[in-house]
Amino acid sequence: MTMVQALGLYNYWVVVFLMMTGFYIVIARRNLIKSILGLNIFQTSVFLLYISMGKIDGATAPIVPPDIAAAAAHHGDHHSDHHGHGEHAGHGVVDHGVDHGVDGATEIAHEAAHSATGYVAMTGIDAENIVYSNPLPSVLMLTAIVVGIATTALALALIVRVREDYGTVEEDEILQINQEEWAAGRERAAKKKKASPGVSAR
């Protein structure tokens, strides 16, 4: 791997960096709030991973330009037909894409764009250079973000409860309190055991 290639994957380096940062924070930080922040960073890195997966160099947002859309409205049947074929083709070449070490998803997006191009050529509108990014990863991430927010909200709510009960959000202190409680419970149980022969004798 040459330097240029390595640098070309800079988005993945960012992802890895964020991922490790977040993971480290979760593991190393004993403050509950900070752990949750780490968790968030960790999750966000995955969002970036997905989004960069769908991105294609020089591609535009996957929105059909208005003029093409208008033209498509004229040939409604045709459009859906061809579009469908285009996507099928897109799936068909994935293996080929894999062989070359290119992202499959990128290939699909390319293919989708090509089909649009072919269609455009047929309808006479010049759109040779339109390349669309793959929208699906972004859509998936919308769901994942929602899940992430729900997780964070729940975690924060739980931390509030913990703080109410223990008076702290430092895990070390909480563990210490638990340990003291446990030791006290054992002492009580031991006392009870000592007391019980007396009870039975009576």
């Binding site: 509950l32 799936h91 290939e107 994942a144 899940v147 909480i174 019980s196």
Partner: protein
């Protein structure tokens, strides 16, 4: 109309009922609605089992979008079997719930409790029937998030803390799964499981597939609570309300095992997982260590719920042993043990719930002599415990026997021997409780206690009865599991 839409109704009914419970705002109405929903769901699941048995795999296109564009639900033998027992346990635990919920959860939160319970069930059932990988992640998070919330409802202040610990570990696991799914998508351009399976080149494919598989495996191992990733489980099971523990212990980890089976046998191939990658040896080692460590830990617990929780970690090891054998007998054993263990552990946690209701404590030392004042509950423990040990005429024996013969067939002698030795530890921790129940001097609190209410005993005995029934009659446990295993292995020759 209804028949064609059964797969989606399985998910939609509990999912819609949950917000309705919240809208109802009253505990009793919410209970009635969730009970109704769970009965319906169980009926649907049974209908699906029958239908799949008659006419083979059902593929359902969600919203009419044909796969791979739309999400597809796939109900085959394994998933219908899973859906059936998850919904059955969900239903029975709900029948069991009211007394325990009244005692352990504030009345003002009852309706929220039932709503969350249904959401948890939705998530678990969703994992069973979906054929879309990203959908698995979503349902996994639905069930996990709702179980974090359910666990935090426990009585002590440990409950929210345990829930939070579970949340952190569980979210990391879920994110690992998300990364794995992402990498698989990157390689194949599709999220449909069957589609991925047909496109993936597991033999000469790029390393990304291995990495994806690794991420998914580790993520699922967290959710399955495989040793040494089990640390969240004992706390979560111990401090959750009794009803929640019954349900989650019986179903949640098993559904993750199901997802793992799908991953190995449905998406990847056993050849990839067990021959190209040494996953079978890794699983075997971790399972066996887990079985021994967790069983030993269980022997030394005073808190009965924690004891059972450690036992669950050990039992997951048996299931994974079966799965990792990658022959039809081993897989059958793994699948049937999911079912049998769900019954046994669900039943035992229900018994524990009865004792907790009457004695107000889950510590074994507070249960001393309770077998005399609560004879029915105590007897149920004895039967369930025999099932856990794997004594003949109980469900536990069937799975252990299958596992043993499968290990023999693979020529895994040491595994077979260790497996049998490990069940001696189960004897130790089950009998510890039995002796305390029957041979210890009861304290005043125990003497004053009375038998658990019939409303709890009847569902408990329904489950415990099943433990015995499926120890004698295996057509619908081992039979269905064997058919499911055959289908899984047949699909990927």
């Amino acid at each position: 109309m209804i028949e064609a839409n059964l797969p989606v109704l399985l998910i939609v009914i509990p999912m819609i009922t949950a917000p309705l419970c919240v809208l109802a705002g009253r505990g009793r109405i919410a209970y009635a609605m969730s009970l109704l929903a769970s009965v319906l769901v169980f009926a649907i699941a049974v209908a699906l089992v029958i239908k799949v048995g008659d006419s083979g795999t059902i593929r359902y296109e969600l919203g009419g979008w044909e796969p791979p564009y739309g999400i597809e639900y796939v109900v085959d033998r394994l998933s219908s079997f899973m859906a059936m027992f998850v919904s059955a346990l969900g239903m029975i635990v709900l029948f069991y719930a009211p007394h325990s919920v009244n005692k352990e959860i504030q009345p003002s939160k009852h309706y929220l409790f039932y709503a969350t319970y249904l959401l948890c069930m939705t998530g678990l059932l969703g994992i069973c029937v979906t054929g879309d990988l990203f959908n698995v992640f979503v349902f996994l998070e639905i069930s996990s998030l709702s179980s974090y919330a359910l666990i935090s409802l426990g009585r002590t202040r440990r409950a929210p803390l345990s829930a939070l610990q579970y949340l952190i570990v569980g979210s990391i696991g879920a994110t690992f799964i998300l990364i794995g799914i992402g990498l698989l998508y990157q390689m194949t351009g599709t999220l449909n499981m069957a589609d991925i399976a047909s496109r993936i080149d597991t033999i000469d494919g790029p390393r990304t597939i291995m990495v994806a598989f690794a991420f998914l495996t580790v993520g699922l191992c967290v959710k399955m609570a495989v040793f040494p990733l089990h640390t969240w489980l004992p706390g979560a099971y111990t401090y959750a309300p009794s009803v929640v523990t019954c349900f989650i212990a019986a179903t949640a980890t098993k559904v993750s095992v199901y997802a793992f089976i799908r991953l190995v046998y449905g998406i990847m191939t056993p050849k990839f997982a067990f021959e190209l990658l040494p996953l079978d040896s890794a699983l075997m080692v971790f399972s066996l260590i887990g079985i021994f460590v967790a069983s030993t830990a269980a022997v030394f617990q005073d808190d009965v719920k924690r004891l059972l929780a450690y036992s669950s970690v050990a039992q997951i090891g048996y299931m994974l042993l079966g799965v990792s054998m990658s022959n039809i007998d081993g897989l059958t054993a793994g699948i049937v043990h999911m079912f049998n263990h769900a019954l046994i552990k669900g039943g035992l946690f229900m018994v524990a719930g009865c004792f907790i209701l009457r004695l107000g404590s889950s510590r074994l030392s507070d249960w001393a002599g309770a077998g005399r004042t609560m004879p029915w509950t105590g007897f149920a423990w004895a039967i369930g415990g025999l099932g856990l040990i794997g004594v003949p005429m109980t469900a536990g024996f069937i799975s252990k026997w299958l596992l043993l013969t499968a290990a023999m067939q693979n020529g895994w002698w040491p595994v077979a021997a260790l497996m049998l030795l490990s069940s001696l530890l189960a004897v130790a921790y089950v009998w510890k409780v039995v002796e305390t129940l029957y041979f210890s001097e009861p304290s005043d609190a125990v003497v004053a206690s009375t038998e658990a209410p019939a409303g709890m005993l009847i569902p408990t005995y329904a489950i415990i009865g099943c433990v015995v029934l499926f120890g004698i009659w295996t057509t619908y446990s081992a039979g269905l599991a064997a058919a499911a295993a055959a289908e899984l292995l047949g699909a990927t020759p």
